[in-house]
């Protein structure tokens, strides 16, 4: 839903900010550890989805989680809260 202005002529006349995905850039670059979902263990409880501070987890049609690595900051809340430990944190670059 990015309708952000590209040139100065498209800028709003008042100090009005425009809703944009990634207003602070791709925040996935802040991450040190990456959450990886084991779909065979996942019970579709959607707890990871509701507790994700970044909204980087999407609830799919069958309620299983899909992580958007462009914006996940790697805080690890999903991994800590998962009742069946289906999400593990793995170091980036390994």
């Amino acid at each position: 839903m990015s309708i952000a202005p590209k040139t100065c002529k498209e800028m709003p006349v008042t100090t009005l900010s425009i809703p944009t995905v990634g207003s602070m850039g791709k925040t996935g670059s802040w991450r040190t550890f990456r959450p990886v979902v084991d779909y065979s263990k996942c019970t579709r409880c959607t707890l990871c989805w509701i507790y994700c501070p970044d909204g980087a987890i999407t609830r799919q049609e069958d309620d299983s989680p899909k992580i958007d690595y462009d914006y996940c900051k790697g805080c690890g809340i999903c991994s800590n809260e998962c009742p069946v430990k289906a999400i593990t944190m793995e170091r980036e670059g390994e």
Binding site: A4, I18, P19, V21, S23, T27, Y51, P53, G55, G74
Partner: protein, 301 residues
């Protein structure tokens, strides 16, 4: 009323790529706010973390109308917005004042008190991370006893203000406390507040990994521990009637509450506490619970 997480909308109005720290519970609370009330709201936000995390001009990650305002003016600005909607005959928009603990407990309390006294029809939400987090953790009136902040390097010597009861003294129709670790409780309280006319006040505990000095993955766990140890109590005061909410209603018996030490030792900001301090905090928590139990059984104190 929402019964389970799966009934909640998949729509997101806090867009991805915002500037909150990793593991921020304020961002969880904002998502829950939008899940409860949708996008038919106008937010009034003073100087606080929420005025920073949407990102730099001309972008924002909040996909609802937001009025950024001065630190002390949340209540007054919300009153103006409500008056404008009233004059135009628009009735289906909820006005939400969304401020941090500094902007509520210290700086914004006069405007909030004025709005409550006038009976302005809006929901005021204070998300309480117990310090001025946005400027680098300075002490606020909501910082608890013994907590480290940059301005109390050896631990704060005073106790936390009891803001929900300051608001109760205004005799407003609805006051509640919540925590982002209990999403259904928070969402039900917001939906209830939306249906009530008059000033509604909700105080959320917002654990802050950056300022409280704990691992980012523990945010939800810390919030849950705060409730289970009785350091944070989930209750609502509806038309002067005090009521505990689950799971706090099961903790009235002292033996069922976990010792406060479990909550305190997990956080780096309490590392200076001595055994005496911990005992003192435990005593205060138990005294507070006695007072709440009397209120719940209608023996007003």
């Amino acid at each position: 009323m929402a019964g389970s997480i799966k009934e909640l909308s998949k729509e997101e109005y806090l867009l991805k790529g915002h500037g909150a720290c990793a593991g921020c519970s304020l961002a969880i609370s904002l998502r829950l706010l939008f899940k409860a009330l949708g996008n038919k709201i106008v937010m009034v936000v003073p100087a606080c973390c929420t005025s920073v995390i949407p990102g730099p001009y001309p972008y924002t990650s909040l996909a609802v109308p937001v009025q950024n305002m001065l630190f002390e003016a949340t209540g007054a600005t919300a009153s103006g917005v409500v008056a404008a909607f009233h004059r135009r005959g628009i009735k289906d928009v909820t006005v939400v004042g969304w401020a941090g603990d500094g902007g509520t407990v210290d700086i914004g309390i006069q405007a909030l008190s004025g709005a409550a006294e006038r009976g302005t029809d809006f929901i005021y939400i204070c998300y309480d991370n117990e310090a001025y987090g946005n400027t680098g953790m300075q002490r606020s009136g909501a910082t608890p006893y013994g907590a480290w902040t940059t301005t109390t390097p050896t631990g704060k010597k005073e106790r936390k203000k009891d803001t929900p009861f300051i608001m109760a003294a205004h005799r407003i129709p609805y006051i509640a406390t919540a925590c982002s670790s209990y999403p259904i409780d928070f969402i039900n309280k917001l939906r209830k507040a939306k249906e009530i006319e008059g000033t509604k006040y909700i105080h959320i505990l917002a654990p802050c990994p950056t300022g409280w000095r704990y691992d980012t993955s523990k945010t939800v766990e810390i919030g849950r521990l705060a409730v289970q140890t009785g350091m944070w109590v989930l209750f609502e005061i509806e038309n002067g009637k005090f009521k505990f909410n689950p799971p706090s209603n099961r903790l009235i018996d002292k033996a069922k509450r976990r010792p406060v030490k479990e909550y305190l030792t997990l956080q780096g900001r309490f590392r200076n506490l001595t055994e005496d301090d911990i005992e003192r905090i435990q005593k205060w928590v138990d005294e507070d619970w006695e007072r709440y139990c009397k209120l719940a059984s209608n023996q007003y104190v």
